[in-house]
Amino acid sequence: QKEVEQDPGPLSVPEGAIVSLNCTYSNSAFQYFMWYRQYSRKGPELLMYTYSSGNKEDGRFTAQVDKSSKYISLFIRDSQPSDSATYLCAPKVNRDDKIIFGKGTRLHILP
């Protein structure tokens, strides 16, 4: 079993819809959970950062971590065409540990 599993998509949704992106992981020692967004021909950039279980909200974005089921989610409300990108979940055990990246989900928001 891979450490981080993520559906590669592509996922196409109409503008204004709520988007749900998900990852599962196998390493129960993960404590730091990040979501990176990668636009075409660009490097990834940090979008959301969560420590341990719970929810974190930032504008239209909500990151959710359920450590009991080893499930990570990213919700995007009122999706915009500018949200079209690849989203990578990226957990790690400790602050100084290697980041383990999921394959990324390609998201298309249709105008």
């Binding site: 730091y32 021909r41 490097g43 940090l46 950062y49 990578l88 290697k98 990246f101 394959k103």
Partner: protein, 115 residues
Amino acid sequence: SAVISQKPSRDICQRGTSLTIQCQVDSQVTMMFWYRQQPGQSLTLIATANQGSEATYESGFVIDKFPISRPNLTFSTLTVSNMSPEDSSIYLCSVEDQGIRGEAFFGQGTRLTVV
């Protein structure tokens, strides 16, 4: 945050040749990281480069194939040696935030095609 400049942004190379990718950071950092992103695959760490010491390679990557230099605290190079079409990929340079989060910052990547 950190601003990372990577060169070249893309290249098409003949098999059997080598390509050196440069990475410049706008601030001094202890560690720099090199990743590979193959089509449909996750970002995979190739090696960690510390200034003044040999790079540390991840399982499946060797120095002869991916030699790395780290001459100072703001610069590093990755060479892809004796290239084959399987080396076609995006190569990314990264540094990590020195604060509590340890988030990674990335260059824009080098898109390599080997023909």
